[in-house]
């Protein structure tokens, strides 16, 4: 398999806060992440707020500069590119944001928003742009006669479709989708997920799909990587990771998904507290403070578990082989 995108030892730390008091802290957002995405493939990056998943998405596109590590896209090392070659390559990699309310310019008609990329990259003669905009809107399920309207005239789901048309305008091969359905109603969420699947089949797109709901992820992802405090703690085929999770954090995430089954709702793992702040890097296993694995012990507080192969996937837990029924709430 030739990878379309390859991410190697990606690290992103930044200084945050304290500009008045001088007490700025280092945020360890991403602490060494590796993954590959093949053409036409979907990798889902899953975790709670603050785990670094959005930072990975933005660093991959070099919207943020990585602290260290490499991002190779279509054979080009992005960190080695100058501005103009990076811009040319950006045409092939686009992003769809979570909030369709704030990611469209309210003062541009939606047609003008979709046309922007075509104009910047001079992909078409000016006279052909309106026609292309119309067919892009049609492809995402918006009536082309609406091109002259403004974002506030559309619902959340429609705005998300417009954001997708805007990303598709420059004919990318790769999309970073940053929580694209989290702000939508379940019924609309289903429409947008189906649209992503259709577009992938039609255009051979690859997705880095950032999300926190594993039931959503299961609908769209070929592979899943679960992140916690800036590192990947479990990664593998979607059916393997979601069907037979090995890392206790993945199990907790699955158990938290609200499924419409009153019986199942009674067997749940509720993780205590919030994820620890990314401004501290605890020694040993990053998940230790919230871990409920019966085998957890002092070793976990000193020795960081490596991401290693267990039962057909990668998992970063010293005790990934031990899977007591009582812990595995969903089986």
């Amino acid at each position: 398999m030739t990878a379309l995108l390859e991410v190697q030892d990606l690290v992103k730390h930044y200084r945050s806060g304290g500009w008045l008091t001088g007490g700025a802290k280092t945020v360890f957002a991403v602490n060494g992440v590796n993954f590959r995405i093949a053409p036409g493939e979907t990798l889902a990056l899953v975790g709670e707020s603050g785990c670094g998943k959005s930072t990975v998405g933005r660093t991959v596109l070099r919207l943020l500069e990585p602290t260290s590590g490499r991002v190779v896209f279509e054979g080009n090392d992005l960190s080695a590119l100058n501005r103009s070659s990076l811009r040319a390559l950006r045409r092939r990699m686009q992003i769809v944001f979570q909030d369709p309310y704030s990611s469209l310019n309210p003062r541009l008609t939606i047609g003008a928003s979709v046309a922007e990329g075509l104009e910047i990259h001079r992909l078409l003669p000016r006279s052909e742009i309106p026609h292309r905009v119309g067919s892009l809107l049609e492809e995402v399920g918006i009536d082309p006669v609406m091109a002259e309207r403004y974002p506030h005239e559309f619902s959340g789901g429609q705005r998300q479709r417009i954001g997708i048309a805007r990303a598709l305008a420059v004919e990318p091969t790769f999309l970073v989708c940053d929580e694209p359905v989290s702000a939508l109603d379940v019924s609309v969420q289903a429409q947008i997920l189906n649209l992503f699947v259709d577009l992938q089949q039609r255009r051979g797109l690859a997705y880095l799909f950032i999300a926190h709901d594993l039931a959503v992820v299961r609908q769209i992802a070929h592979r899943v990587a679960v992140m916690y405090l800036g590192v990947i703690v479990e990664e593998g085929e979607a059916e393997t990771v979601i069907g037979r999770p090995r890392h206790p954090y993945t199990r907790a995430l699955i158990s938290a998904v609200p499924v419409p089954d009153p019986e199942r709702q009674r067997m749940r793992i509720v993780l205590p507290g919030d994820p620890p702040s990314p401004t501290v890097r605890p020694p040993g296993c990053p998940f230790f403070s919230r871990c409920f694995h019966p085998s957890k012990n002092d070793r976990c507080t000193v020795e960081t578990p490596p991401l290693r192969e267990v039962d057909g996937r990668l998992a970063a837990c010293h005790y990934a082989e031990i899977l007591p029924a009582a812990v595995n709430g969903q089986q």
């Binding site: 109603d185 379940v186 189906n194 594993l214 419409p260 749940r268």
Partner: protein, 333 residues
């Protein structure tokens, strides 16, 4: 015993050339200690319904004549403004979706709890502070004495929502209205908050009106469910019955659109189109333009509530006993 009774609630919003009714003839009741979930898509009128219960309908909207809301037998629509203010935050507690915008950013978390305690209970400042710290402890805030002095921006989304819940509980309400209390939160934190609400209603014997668009959130949390569409309740049932046998095509469609963790992965069944605008409610059954089973009467005649089972109501012509008696169902789901 009935705690809250809502009869034929209708809201009037003047628009050029007429009046529209985003909530249009809603009736339901909640017993003491019961959890009722009000479920529907954005724009179906569920949040306006909850605001109407508190008489907080944004102007120029108003509650139409002929609507009835009573709490413990007291007609809320007849109360003077001062008495109504005592009901809000007193007998009825409120938790909204977005804890960032519903908390006051320039007051500490603790002061906001104290404010509510003192507005409703005859206690001294020191007693109010004691009580506030006890409430913060009860809603699971770690180091409550420290967090008492924290401002909302210093708290995570989950902690902010816990502060909101502490404020809502301050005067020991008989009814808690929770409007999409977990929509803005991570799934893990959502699970914590739902667990917390469940525990609190058990310990305090509080009734809860849980408003959500996600039937997954309802499972195992609510005693009964009312499904709302286009300003009206279209189906009501005990949670178990509704999950086993959703009878309105809209409820069935909502279930089909939920992604599952088990079973084969297939195309999600989405509901075609979107919720109509209140200025433009369809004739007959309001769901008929999006309904896969619509037949002759649906576009012209408003269906009454039929009873597909005991304690189970659904507003759909498919359930008309006259039609069911006439022959086998020609519409399969």
């Amino acid at each position: 015993m009935t705690l809250l009774d809502v009869r034929d609630l209708r809201l009037d919003f003047p628009v050029p050339g007429g009046v529209m009714h985003p909530v249009d003839g809603v009736s339901f009741s909640i017993a003491k200690g019961e959890v009722l979930a009000l479920v529907g898509e954005s724009g179906c009128g569920k949040s306006l319904t909850s605001l109407a219960l508190l008489r907080l309908v944004p102007p120029p909207g108003r509650i139409a004549d002929g609507s009835g809301i009573s709490l413990d037998g007291v007609d809320l629509l007849g109360l003077d403004p001062g008495a109504m203010r005592q009901v809000r935050g007193g007998r009825i507690g409120m938790v909204f979706q977005d804890p960032m915008t519903s908390l006051n950013p320039v007051l500490t978390a603790g002061d906001q709890v104290v404010e509510t305690v003192r507005a409703h209970l005859p206690v001294t400042r020191a007693e109010a502070k004691q009580r506030a710290i006890r409430l913060l402890t009860e809603v699971g805030i770690p180091d409550p004495a420290d967090r008492f002095n924290a401002y909302p921006h210093q708290l995570s989304g989950g902690l902010r929502q816990r502060v909101m819940i502490a404020i809502a509980l301050a005067a020991e309400p008989a009814l808690l209205i929770a409007d999409e209390p977990t929509t803005a939160l991570d799934v893990t934190v959502q699970a914590q908050i739902l667990e917390l609400l469940d525990g609190l209603r058990r310990t305090h014997g509080m009734a809860v009106l849980l408003i959500t668009h996600d039937l997954g959130v309802v499972a195992g949390r609510a005693d009964r469910v009312a499904v709302m569409y286009a300003g009206q309740i279209v189906e009501t049932a005990d949670t178990g019955a509704l999950f086993q046998r959703p009878s309105h095509p809209y409820t069935q469609a909502l279930f089909a659109s939920i992604p599952r963790l088990e079973g084969p992965v297939g195309r999600l069944k989405s509901i075609p189109g979107s919720v109509p605008q209140p200025s433009d409610w369809p004739t007959g059954c309001r769901f008929h333009p999006r309904c896969p089973f619509a037949f002759e009467p649906c576009a012209s005649a408003v269906p009454p509530m039929f009873q597909p089972g005991p304690g189970h109501d659904a507003k759909c012509w498919l359930l008309d006993p006259a039609r069911l008696a006439a022959g086998p169902r020609i519409f399969s789901s």
